[in-house]
C-alpha cells in the first residue's frame, strides 16, 4: 500500500523532521509515500488574501498532478502533513467539485496549461490515515517501545479540524489522543488544543513574525495551560505550530517571567519513538530542545537529554 504525498514548502525547511519522521513511521508500518512530482506551493493563507482564484489554481495544479500520476477511475488520496496545505488542498477540491463560476475559471486555467482536475484527488491528513486506514490495533501491536505513560498535550491548532471536519470533531477532536494512547502515552485533557497559535498568518515563513508580540502571547498561553495540566511534551500536526511553540520558549520566559521548558515535536516523532525508530530516523537531532522523561526511570522522574 502506498499513498501520494504532498510535502509542502515547510517540509523542506523548518519542518524537515516532520517529513523524516512521517516517512519513517509509514515505512515501519509498511506503507509507502510517493512524493508528488513537481508539486508547487498550496497557496497557504497568504495567496487567498491577494487572489482567491489563483490560490485555488495553485492547489488545483497539485491535485491534477496527483491524478495524472494515478490514471484510472478510482479516488487518489494525497497525504498532506502540514495542516495549512491540508486545508488549502481540501478547500480547493471541494470548491472545484462543487461547480460554479470559480470552478469553471480555474478549470479553464488548468486546461490552458494542459492539466485537468477530475475530482478524484482529495487531501488526506496522515493522522487520519494512521487512525482510520492503518488502524489503532496495528499501531498498538507495532509499538515495541511504548511511551510508558508519557503525559502528552495533543495540539491540533486551527486548520486540521476547521473549517472542515473530515475525520474528527471540530471542537473536541480525539484522533491524536487515541493514536498516542495506543502508543502507550497518556494524553492530558487540554481544551485549548484547537486554539490558534498565532502562526497561520505567516504563510509558510514562521520566522517572519508578522506580529511577533501576538504570536508570543498566543503560544505562551497554550503552553502555560498545557503545563498546568501536567503535559511533559506537546505533539503537533503542523510545521508552523511546531515552530511557534518550540522556538520562542526562551523569549516567553523572559517576557512573562516564566519557566516553560516543554519538548514540542511532531506527533509522528512521538509515535515513531514508540515504534522503536532511532532518533536520527525521526529527525530528533533537528529539534531545538527535546527532552523526554526516561521510560526506565519513569517512576523517579529523571530526565535524559536527547
Amino acid at each position: 500500500m502506498s499513498y501520494a504525498y504532498y510535502p509542502g514548502c515547510s517540509a523542506k525547511g523548518t519542518g524537515r523532521s516532520y517529513e523524516e519522521s512521517l516517512r519513517a513511521v509509514f515505512g515501519a508500518l509498511g506503507t509507502g509515500l510517493d512524493e508528488l512530482n513537481d508539486w508547487n506551493c498550496c497557496g497557504a493563507s497568504g495567496y487567498p488574501a491577494v487572489d482567491a482564484a489563483k490560490a485555488a489554481a495553485l492547489s488545483a495544479r497539485n491535485l491534477a498532478l496527483a491524478e495524472d500520476a494515478q490514471p484510472g477511475a478510482g479516488p487518489v488520496d494525497l497525504v498532506a502533513p502540514c495542516a495549512g496545505c491540508y486545508r488549502a488542498l481540501l478547500k480547493t477540491g471541494r470548491a472545484l467539485s462543487g461547480g460554479g463560476p470559480m470552478a469553471a475559471r480555474v478549470g479553464g486555467a488548468l486546461g490552458a496549461a494542459g492539466l485537468r482536475y477530475e475530482g478524484r484527488a482529495r487531501a488526506r491528513h496522515p493522522l487520519d490515515v494512521l487512525v482510520n486506514d492503518i488502524g489503532l490495533e496495528r499501531i498498538a501491536e507495532a509499538a515495541v517501545r511504548p511511551l510508558h505513560g508519557l503525559r502528552v498535550g495533543c495540539y491540533y491548532g486551527c486548520l486540521l479540524v476547521r473549517p472542515y471536519a473530515t475525520f474528527d470533531d471540530r471542537r473536541a477532536p480525539t484522533s491524536m489522543e487515541r493514536l498516542l494512547a495506543a502508543a502507550g502515552a497518556e494524553p492530558v485533557d487540554w481544551p485549548m488544543r484547537t486554539r490558534c497559535c498565532g502562526g497561520s498568518c505567516y504563510c509558510g515563513g514562521p520566522l517572519i513574525g508578522a506580529l511577533p508580540e501576538a504570536t508570543l502571547r498566543l503560544s505562551y498561553r497554550l503552553l502555560r495551560d498545557a503545563r498546568r495540566r501536567g503535559a511533559q511534551a506537546i505533539a503537533t500536526v503542523c510545521p508552523l505550530c511546531q515552530f511557534n511553540l518550540e522556538a520562542f520558549q526562551r523569549q516567553m520566559n523572559r517576557t512573562f517571567d516564566e519557566r516553560i521548558d516543554l519538548s514540542v515535536g511532531f506527533f509522528t516523532q512521538l509515535l515513531g519513538t514508540a515504534l522503536g525508530l532511532s532518533e536520527r530516523a525521526l529527525g530528533v537531532q533537528r529539534m531545538l530542545h527535546w527532552r523526554l522523561p526516561d521510560p526506565a526511570a519513569a517512576q523517579g522522574g529523571a530526565h535524559v537529554r536527547a
Binding site: 514548502c9 523542506k12 525547511g13 523548518t14 519542518g15 524537515r16 513537481d38 508539486w39 508547487n40 506551493c41 497557496g43 497557504a44 493563507s45 497568504g46 495567496y47 487567498p48 488574501a49 491577494v50 487572489d51 482567491a52 482564484a53 489563483k54 489554481a57 495553485l58 495544479r61 470559480m102 475559471r105 480555474v106 479553464g108 486555467a109 490552458a112 496549461a113 494542459g114 492539466l115 486551527c158 486548520l159 476547521r162 473549517p163 471542537r171 486554539r195 490558534c196 498565532g198 502562526g199 497561520s200 498568518c201 505567516y202 504563510c203 509558510g204 515563513g205 520566522l207 517572519i208 513574525g209 508578522a210 506580529l211 511577533p212 501576538a214 498566543l218 520562542f248 533537528r286 531545538l288
Partner: protein
C-alpha cells in the same frame, strides 16, 4: 446573497462586502468571544459586521483588524447564523489591496504580497528568503533580534538557503496567467 440595503450597493467595495453578508448578522458577539486575536484588533469582528451593515465600508477596508486575522476559522465554526466570516475577511483583504485602502504601515499586507511574488516566481515558498525579504522591507533592525533563532535553525538544517523551485515554472505561470486573462470582476 439575495437582498441588500440601498447603501450596500453603492461602491465596488460595498458590493464585495455585501456578498460577504453582514446583513444577516444578529450581533450576538460569538465571533468576538472566540477570536484569539481580538486584543490586537482596532475593531472586533462583531463591530466589523456592524460597521458593514451601517455602510462604513471605507473604514472597514482601512482597518488593521482584517489584517490581524490569521484565518483560524474559529468564528466561522461557531457563528450561530453560519455566516462565512473568515472568507468574508479574506474578501475584505483582497478588496483593501485592490483599492489601495490597506493600512500602509502594517506588516501583513506587505507579507501577503511578498509571498505572492515569491510563489509566482518560484512556484514554491522559501522560509529563509521570504523572511529576509520581509524584514528588509519593513523593519531591518529586527533581523538582529531573530538572528540567534535563525542560526540555531541553520545549524540543524532547518533553514536551507537554497530557494526551492518547481521544475516547470512555466507551467505554473501559464495557469496563473490564464486567470489574469479571464478576470471577470469576481474578487470574492
Amino acid at each position: 446573497m439575495g437582498f441588500s440595503s440601498p447603501q450596500l450597493a453603492t461602491t465596488q467595495a460595498a458590493r464585495a462586502a455585501d456578498r460577504v453578508l453582514p446583513q444577516f448578522c444578529i450581533q450576538c458577539g460569538t465571533c468576538s468571544v472566540v477570536c484569539p486575536l481580538i486584543e490586537y484588533m482596532d475593531h472586533s469582528p462583531r463591530v466589523l459586521n456592524a460597521m458593514l451593515t451601517a455602510g462604513s465600508h471605507e473604514e472597514v477596508l482601512h482597518s488593521r483588524a482584517i489584517w490581524v486575522c490569521t484565518s483560524c476559522y474559529a468564528c466561522t465554526v461557531e457563528c450561530p447564523k453560519q455566516l462565512p466570516l473568515t472568507e468574508s475577511i479574506y474578501a475584505l483583504k483582497r478588496e483593501s489591496l485592490r483599492t489601495g485602502t490597506y493600512p500602509r504601515r502594517f506588516i501583513t499586507p506587505v507579507l501577503a504580497r511578498q509571498f505572492v511574488r515569491t510563489v509566482d516566481r518560484h512556484g514554491r515558498s522559501s522560509e529563509a528568503w521570504l523572511s529576509l525579504a520581509l524584514y528588509l522591507r519593513t523593519r531591518p533592525l529586527q533581523l538582529v533580534r531573530y538572528a540567534p533563532v535563525a542560526l540555531r535553525l541553520m545549524l540543524r538544517g532547518r533553514l536551507p538557503l537554497r530557494h526551492e523551485s518547481v521544475r516547470r515554472p512555466a507551467q505554473v505561470r501559464k495557469v496563473l496567467e490564464a486567470l489574469d486573462a479571464t478576470t471577470t470582476g469576481e474578487h470574492a
